[in-house]
């Protein structure tokens, strides 16, 4: 191991600047987070409080759950645009299979809670499987395939609720989505567990390694005898199931299930992953990056509410921050490639 220590010092000897440049992908989002937090703490006395930290955590939970699966997809250099739609249809499905109050005018099929949950998860897994088959067997680019799925899932949602709103979901979902234990909302705990689980899978399992390798160089993965299609298919299903779980808990969290409820989560989830520094070209980044990205978005959304700012301007600011993150993302990739040469 002594030679490796020598190497480590060797790398340090090459200078701090090249090291920082190669780590820009991880450093930049973190600096953004610190900068934003400091700014809002300075601008508003109500921002930097423990209560508000709890608010931020709760606000990013649904995005966080969805972003776990999306991180896998983006690490493979693919994209999933159907996440919000699948979240929506799964949330609606779990309500559809639950007995609603008599004033809810939906011709639904009430089932026991456990069955409703299992059916809903099967539904989102099935939609993910369709994405997977379209991508790997037919060879439709994921951008287009999941665009179609976005519409299909929205269509199923529409057929199930027909413009109405459902309120009841199984009690387990209600607890996880809107209950809390010891003052900590369950939804925050679920998001934390899923993020941790995603991190463990990506870092410590063979499958996780394959995800990074397929994203890093798909051709090389194939020439190494990996079943690249199987891995790509698996990440699409994982993404759909994470979205489905996020959708079910989200419905409980919001207190209702209706059409177009999750529309903003598509952009938020992609933004969280990319702002966090996971490479859009695949192979670099991870759940750690996604967590930082979630906090950046959470602090930004929450902080803008604490300062006196035109609520319409908020949308523009979010767009600009996302653009800045994309620029850094592409730029970081180029710096890395240059360093590797």
């Amino acid at each position: 191991m002594s030679s490796e220590t020598a190497l480590a010092t060797g790398q340090r000897a090459r200078g701090l600047a090249p090291f920082l440049r190669s780590q820009m992908r991880n450093i930049a989002p973190f600096l953004t987070l610190i900068f934003l937090s400091a700014f809002f703490a300075f601008a508003s006395p109500s921002f930097a409080t423990l209560d508000n930290l709890g608010n931020i955590l709760t606000q990013v939970s649904v995005t966080g759950i969805i972003a776990v699966g999306l991180t896998f997809v983006i690490l493979c250099a693919e994209i999933d645009l159907s996440i919000a739609s699948i979240a929506n249809v799964t949330g609606i499905a779990v309500a559809y299979f639950t007995l609603q109050e008599s004033y809810v005018n939906i011709a639904n099929i009430p089932l026991p809670g456990a069955v409703a949950i299992i059916l809903s998860i099967l539904l989102c897994a099935l939609l993910g499987l369709v994405n997977a088959l379209g991508l790997t067997v037919i060879g439709i680019p994921s951008f287009i395939m999941t665009l179609a799925m976005m519409q299909i899932a929205a269509g199923i949602s529409a057929l199930l609720v027909r413009g109405q709103i459902a309120y009841k979901v199984p009690s387990l979902i209600t607890t996880l989505g809107s209950g809390s234990i010891g003052g900590i909302p369950w939804i925050v705990i679920v998001a934390a567990i899923m993020l941790l689980g995603g991190h463990l899978v990506l870092t410590y399992t063979r499958f996780g390694r394959y995800v990074y390798m397929v994203g890093g160089n798909r051709e090389a993965a194939e020439y190494s005898g990996l079943n690249v299609k199987l891995i790509l298919g698996a990440v699409m299903v994982i993404s759909a199931v994470c979205s489905g779980i996020g959708g079910m808990l989200g419905v409980a969290h919001f207190g209702s299930a209706q059409q177009n409820e999750f529309d903003t989560y598509l952009l938020d989830s992609i933004a969280a992953v990319v702002v966090g520094g996971t490479s859009l070209f695949g192979g670099r980044g991870g759940i750690g990056n996604t967590i930082v990205g979630l906090f950046v978005l959470g602090v930004l959304n929450n902080g803008l509410d604490h300062v006196n700012i035109d609520s319409f301007l908020k949308i523009l600011i979010r767009g600009l921050i996302l653009l800045a993150a994309l620029v850094i993302n592409v730029y970081a990739q180029r710096l890395r490639e240059k360093a590797a040469e």
């Binding site: 030679s3 190497l7 399992t205 063979r206 390798m213 160089n217 090389a220 020439y223 190494s224 590797a340």
Partner: protein, 500 residues
């Protein structure tokens, strides 16, 4: 050509180096109007480099460059084009989704006063041009729907009829069938009558002798011979190309080498009647345990496709594969790997993960053997360490990013990934390309060592030395078909080139 005539193009003392390596050393070259000038030489001899200088692709070089006796310095291919020089590159560069007519008139489509494309006129003119070339296709057909050979002819036609006075053709015949080659030659001769100067680069010496007036031979960046085609022969040209006793450092394989008695050990791979559209025709052979089978052929002869089929990356149109007597149709590279086949492709970029550490590169193909669910990084590093020591990979640091290693060491890593659990069949494409002598020898020793361990090994290469230094038995692949087998007999570079 003709005495007293002014050369249309004249180069004097051209020297060009890439990163300290001299690709051309003081080359003189003259081209006359109405001349077809053949260029031969081994891979890396400098032919393509010289042509790219003429076509304005390489702009940095030393020496004098005269067009019509006037000194010129091109800053881009556009400048060369303006001076009437056009080149057909080795790789097909057409727009498959555009129509034939659009491809033919690319860059100078006829337009009306408003700047709108005149489609009917464009189609008519393209049709007329192609007809002169003996090509009868619908100008409005999508180019990509035509066979590759025809696409290549259309690309050549576009360049030939672009009005250029100097046309450079780099390996134009490799994808063409014999009648298509005939048609190309007829057109070249007609253009020659009209005064166009043509440079024709090819590995196919028969083609060169057939069509060109003058032949120039390159070796190691130097022009070693220039002669009238009528006054030379294939044997003489091959001799000039490879030189005798010149390259002292490396074995030059100019003398006969005796191939051993063919092995009678068990057949690991049997390939039967393999065909793939225009790339391979009825290829059948077998590879035995403890034997290195060399497959030699020129670039584009179908080697690449063959290796991809063996590893499940390409599906053949017809034909069968059998590993250890069991018939296989590989659905994926993963299936081929499970069946005990391993491939090291010619491009290391395609094979390795440059941004990942060495040990991950080595362990990737065997992860499923060492871990069911959870990774065992310590074990991965141990295995990698053992391989790094055994293959003497430098620097011997398994945690280093692969991109930091030299090319030769990367190639060893590409081999190392298959060696912890050796496959039954190892397919190596160009295993020593671009390596220095030391690294080459290391790789040769590794392969020989694997052979004694009983692996069946197939080495595919376009470099005769590579095949000769490794193989026990040699097959020659020519335009997708096996044309010759060397076994238990003397073989040399000339004999291989002669056969290909």
């Amino acid at each position: 050509m003709t005495a007293g005539q002014q050369p249309i193009l004249e180069l004097q003392g051209i020297t060009k180096s890439f990163g300290g390596v001299e690709a051309l050393r003081g080359v003189d070259f003259a081209l006359y109007p109405g001349e077809i000038h053949g260029l031969v030489g081994e891979n890396g001899a400098g032919k393509s480099t010289l042509m790219k200088i003429i076509a304005g692709v390489h702009t940095e070089f030393s020496g004098r460059f005269l067009v019509d006796s006037r000194e010129m310095h091109f800053r881009s291919a556009r400048d060369a084009h303006a001076a009437g020089i056009a080149m057909v590159h080795q790789e097909l560069s057409v727009a498959p989704d555009l129509t034939v007519a659009e491809n033919v008139s690319l860059g100078n489509q006829p337009t009306n006063a408003l700047g709108l494309v005149q489609w009917r006129r464009m189609a008519r003119e393209a049709g007329e041009q192609l007809a002169r070339f003996g090509i009868d296709v619908d100008p409005m057909a999508r180019l990509g729907d035509l066979p590759i050979g025809l696409q290549q002819l259309i690309e050549i036609a576009r360049v030939l009829f672009s009005g250029a006075r100097i046309v450079i053709l780099d390996e134009p015949t490799s994808a063409l069938s014999p009648p298509e080659v005939e048609r190309l030659f007829a057109t070249l001769r007609r253009l020659r009558e009209e005064g166009t100067a043509i440079v024709f680069i090819s590995h196919f010496i028969e083609d060169i002798l057939l069509v060109s007036d003058t032949v120039t031979v390159f070796r190691n960046g130097r022009k070693v011979a220039e002669t009238a085609s009528a006054a030379t022969s294939k044997g003489a040209l091959i001799e000039a190309m490879i030189g005798r006793g010149g390259e002292a450092l490396e074995h030059s394989y100019t003398d006969d080498l005796m191939l051993p008695q063919p092995s009678d050990s068990s057949v690991v791979l049997r390939v039967d009647q393999l065909s793939l559209s225009r790339s391979l025709q009825d290829v059948s052979f077998e590879a035995r345990a403890g034997e290195v089978l060399g497959i030699y052929g020129f670039m584009g002869c179908g080697q690449q496709e063959l290796s991809r089929i063996l590893f499940g990356k390409l599906k053949p149109d017809s034909g069968t594969l059998a590993v250890d007597g069991t018939r296989k149709t590989f659905a994926s590279t993963a299936a081929a790997r499970r069946a005990g086949v391993a491939l090291v492709p010619e491009s290391r970029r395609d094979m390795l993960f440059h941004q990942e550490p060495v040990y991950k590169n080595i362990s990737i193909s065997i992860l499923d053997r060492i871990s069911a669910l959870l990774l065992k990084p310590a074990q991965e590093r141990d295995i990698a360490k053992r391989q790094v020591d055994q293959l003497q990979i430098r620097p011997p640091v398994v945690g280093l990013d692969l991109g930091m290693l030299s090319g030769g060491n990367q190639q060893k890593v590409a081999l190392a990934k298959w060696l912890t659990y050796p496959p039954k069949l190892l397919v190596l494409c160009e295993p020593t390309r671009g390596m220095d002598v030391g690294a080459k020898n290391d790789v040769i020793n590794i392969v020989r060592d694997l052979r004694t361990k009983g692996l069946a090994i197939i080495v595919l290469s376009t470099e005769p030395e590579t095949v000769l230094s490794l193989a026990d038995r040699i097959l020659v692949l020519k335009r997708g078909a096996l044309v010759r087998e060397f076994k238990n007999e003397p073989v040399s570079k000339d004999r291989l080139l002669e056969a290909a």
